[in-house]
Amino acid sequence: MTPETLEALASARAARRPVALLTRLPDGAQVLYPDQPVPPALAEAAEAALRDDRAGPVTLGEESWFIHPQAPPPRLIVVGAVHVAQALVPMAVAVGLAVTVVDPRRAFATEERFAEGATLVDEWPDDALTALRPDSRTAIVTLTHDPKLDDPALDVALRSEAFYIGALGSRRTHAKRVERLTEAGHGAEAIARIRAPVGLDIGAVTAPEIALSVIAQVVAARRGKPA
């Protein structure tokens, strides 16, 4: 791989732009799709690999190619730079999620509390989420307990294709939340997308235990396993 190809892959990743790396075997000649022109049959294979997010070999006439889709990493948007969020961030990073923590309260979303791994955003959750444009490779979890912060975030989340939406809070808290979201115009089916109480039921008590239950539920959703 040339340094130029490595840099091109890095900038595509930074821009969350899906590309496929095509390598001819065994000589290792490489092209980046769709940045560089490729024969139609190879382009078709690259499109299919990107769609299915699956790497594999393909034979074209005499030539053998390895098609390697480089999809942007799935994201986790955490609303509330609270104690559970501090435990959640390193676990999310460990399972390969790109993490953004949103909290307009400046004392919370500080670099000191989130040493590395997360992008911090100190805007209001609805503005922040709208700007982040959650897609089908995005998970969203609200952790503030405060309707002023959680509700606007959930409002944007429910209008998105996010593959996971979770909200911290007891059954009672959630029942009230459902009432408010219904009043705001969300249907029962949409509201049922919210995982609440959040996380797998492992009897979690401490902040790291709650974080573990949330991350396990996000992984299950990402892998298509009902949990």
């Binding site: 890095a10 390895f66 399972v95």
Partner: protein, 106 residues
């Protein structure tokens, strides 16, 4: 969640430090290979490793060949499979088979 860490980012950082780097990528698997096609292992001239191409069965052998690839600059396509169950032979205890492409980052 295609990997637990971004191997290319690590390779890029190592290169920026002045290390020579080779990349190994699983390009095809048969049977119960532990890591899917696309899994990567980065190796430096000083022997640092990041990522994996198996459950640990063939990383040593791949790292050795990576040194050779860094020296002569020529990529290699490697075949691994189980030949027998003797532990001192490089192979996959799970009975899988895989092809690994090793290329210099240069």
């Amino acid at each position: 969640m295609s990997g637990t860490e971004d191997i290319l980012e690590t390779a890029r950082a190592w290169r920026a430090e002045g290390e020579s780097v080779a990349l190994a990528t699983v390009v095809e698997t048969w049977g119960s290979s532990p890591r899917p096609a696309g899994s990567r292992l980065a190796v430096t001239g000083t022997g640092r490793l990041a990522g994996s191409v198996s459950g640990g069965c063939i990383e040593g052998a791949v790292a050795d060949i990576a040194q050779q690839v860094m020296k002569d600059g020529r990529p290699q396509l490697l075949d691994f499979g189980i030949s027998d169950e003797r532990a001192w032979e490089v192979g996959l205890a799970c009975g899988g088979k895989l092809k690994v492409f090793v290329e210099p980052l240069a």
